[in-house]
Subunit: 307 residues, 2 copies
Amino acid sequence: MRPGWIAADWGTSRLRVWAMGAEGVLAEARSDEGMGQVPAGGFEAALLRLIGPWLGDGPPVPVVICGMAGARQGWQEAPYRSLPCAPVDPQALVPVPSEDPRIAVRIVPGLAQAKPADVMRGEETQIAGALALLGSFDGVICLPGTHSKWAQVSAGEVVSFRSFLTGELFALLSERSVLRHGLAAEGWDDEAFLAAVSDGMSHPQKLGAKLFGLRAEALLQDLPAATARARLSGLLIGLELVGARSYWLGQPVVLVGEEALAARYGAALAAQGVQARLLPAAASTLGGLAAAMGQLTLASSGAGRKA
Amino acid sequence: MRPGWIAADWGTSRLRVWAMGAEGVLAEARSDEGMGQVPAGGFEAALLRLIGPWLGDGPPVPVVICGMAGARQGWQEAPYRSLPCAPVDPQALVPVPSEDPRIAVRIVPGLAQAKPADVMRGEETQIAGALALLGSFDGVICLPGTHSKWAQVSAGEVVSFRSFLTGELFALLSERSVLRHGLAAEGWDDEAFLAAVSDGMSHPQKLGAKLFGLRAEALLQDLPAATARARLSGLLIGLELVGARSYWLGQPVVLVGEEALAARYGAALAAQGVQARLLPAAASTLGGLAAAMGQLTLASSGAGRKA
């Protein structure tokens, strides 16, 4: 096997690579050597540990990378592109010098918005992949996650976006705050989640009190830990939804993300009368990397189904 | 020196003790052996390490403790008293058996509110001390901190209260989130703080986006780290103020807390037209412990000035 090119999603906490051929994905691999784990100067070696088996003689294989590898603390900084613009542009990839002559590495730049100040790095690729998967689409793409994004897209360009710290707040509060004592690591309660979404949307100003209330109910009323977890998630997602209302109200909405989380956002939006379409994160990433390679039809063929 | 009694404030992260005589404070000591650091079964030894030098022959010296030492994971659980009630009641202290015959230990119980579910442990003693320092007071006592409290007091009783996770959110976000990269550990910007308070009060639903905005402004616009810190504090205190509006609006407000933090709350309230009176935390704690000992006049004599 000799891939035509290699796609890579290099986030803060993990690295995922695909060997790509004319028909789509030939092979894939992943490691925990995320941007945050790789020491300065160690990026090429970390990449080669995964893709080395795919490389042979011949001209250099193109490698296209999206995500935090392009941050200032990453392999090489890929300066943000400014809105409005297409989510990815094959002409705007940033070349990264490599010592190994078998690869020709380029990084997809993130996007920046001046006012309100906002940035994304990695999600622009998922947006491009979503647009490729959807064909023509004008509307809003929501990417739930550590730093959830809501992006308005029109005529193939990202027009505006806004990030929310929701996922990171959930992680900090569920793992490191006083609430962790009364919160399950697993388990769920759909009814409690939706009630908390509604509560969070109706009373965003009560967030601090509602959060401490989870601790108090655990102490005084034996609040079940799975219910507490669902309520914490619901309060934070509800806060995000009310803050992002101008994005989703009366708009076609597409959710791109990890399946369980995207389904929760979908349920929360459905309770507001918004039927969002869900697209898988990996297929969107891969489709966006193909778009960055200039292979605009790939995402709707084998790769989209396989990822 | 032989104290008439010993006052102790035993929080999660530290232990502070005072040797009390007829005229007030005879001596004081502190350690980092907070409730969270002391292993089960180690509480008496940790206490004796501090107060041992004050003990001699004669009848047992009364020791009155407030704070997390009375939690389920503390020295001995002191079940919450239910609202409405006086903040402390000398008849309601919980005796703790000790091996050392030189001490007679009692713990001040915390307070619980059924609906909305809420708890305090330690702040009830500060409220009692504040009431002793103030003489007669009907109104609202705010105790900023890790879990800020707003308490409505009337005719010497706590009528209702609400806790906010504000301080813990600030600590998590400033020390453990992505925002830590652009935030100063020290430094301040009064103007940015007050603008952020106003912003947080006006747009509580935008909290998640405003938080991520601090990161984006650091990346794109070199937001000064001290300004970012003041804005983070302002956004969170603003969120608390709008959530606690029913407590402070049109009410006499007293702030009890660590000086710098209480001053920030005072400035934020002043911008809302509320002139809050500030009382020092330690004097309030000591006054409340004296009230728990049945020595209601102590706090307004030497101890109040000294602490």
